[in-house]
Point group: C2
Chain length 187, copies 2
């Protein structure tokens, strides 16, 4: 059976067996239990994670202690605090496991080494990064433009599986509405 990471990469670029083996040498596996974190506010984040199995959230707390969710991560998603990872700043967010999660991670140094040596992988992440940027642009448009009801419908349309796997209060924290408002939207 093809390695899930290879399958994922080959959706965008082709790799030979040797090339994939070389890529895989740059990753390490890690298992986390539900409620464990991979990033905490204040960390200098040196790893990017790819979700083999599980579900995570990146989130932060505002001055009133209210939780806001920036992003969810499920199978085949890449997740880290990109600001901290790339600019080497202290993280302002937390990334926690919502389910027990199997992850593969690559360190910043290994990623730099791999992309410098292998144009194909530079190309792969360049494409991924473009799609990530588009998703964020859509999120901003939606925050500025859409009502809570429209944001709920968009999320349901784009990620129906989230609604099965993620507690309602986290969906509310992603949409920026209260639990009560969410109940009204989903009825």
């Amino acid at each position: 059976m093809m390695h899930p990471l290879r399958k994922h990469i080959e959706e965008l670029i082709d790799l030979t067996d040797e090339e994939f083996e070389f890529v895989l040498q740059h990753f390490e596996p890690v298992k986390k239990r539900k409620h464990q974190h991979i990033v905490q506010e204040g960390d200098f984040v040196r790893k990017e994670y790819w979700v083999v199995k599980g579900c995570l959230k990146s989130c932060f707390f505002d001055d009133e202690g209210k939780e806001h969710i920036l992003q969810f991560g499920m199978e085949n998603w890449w997740i880290t605090d990109y600001e901290s990872f790339i600019k080497k700043t202290k993280s302002e967010i937390n990334i926690d496991c919502i389910e027990d999660s199997d992850l593969l991670y690559i360190t910043y140094e290994n990623r730099e080494r791999l992309t410098a040596q292998m144009h194909k992988m530079e190309r792969f992440w360049a494409k991924k990064s473009k799609y990530g940027r588009i998703a964020l642009q859509k999120r901003i448009l939606s925050l500025l433009k859409n009502s809570a009801k429209e944001r709920y419908d968009l999320l349901l349309e784009e990620y129906p599986q989230l609604f099965q796997r993620v507690p309602k209060k986290l969906i509310a924290a992603y949409l920026g509405v209260s639990r009560e408002t969410l109940s009204r939207l989903s009825s």
Copy 2:
């Protein structure tokens, strides 16, 4: 004198004279007057622009006809509708010139050709795309977390030159506040 695009690219990667000449062959210059657009809602956007001189805004109108600003673009900034450019969808935004602007553009096909042939340029845009993603992540955090006053202060701190060059009503449209609120924030 070094070409401004070369100076810009060499902030991230080194190029030989021959390499820069090759890169430059993939671009075309275009001049636009104040109030002219480079992208209109409904366009299939096939060009990415680099600002040699001038100032632009990417914006959209909500159902009530209210203008929202997604991004400004000034000297050395890259601007296009990345969703339309990459996914070949119809644009949902407008990009207009706030000042007379000198631009260089590269078509999608030329960019694909250039990055496929030249690992260095793939690397350059990969880095740029990462920084673009970080800026968008910061914008989302700020929209979810900060008050209008905090968003105003952050913008002033990060882009002081915007406040000299851009009409107040556009700063208000970027922050998502009314002209009256903006006057209160800036006093």
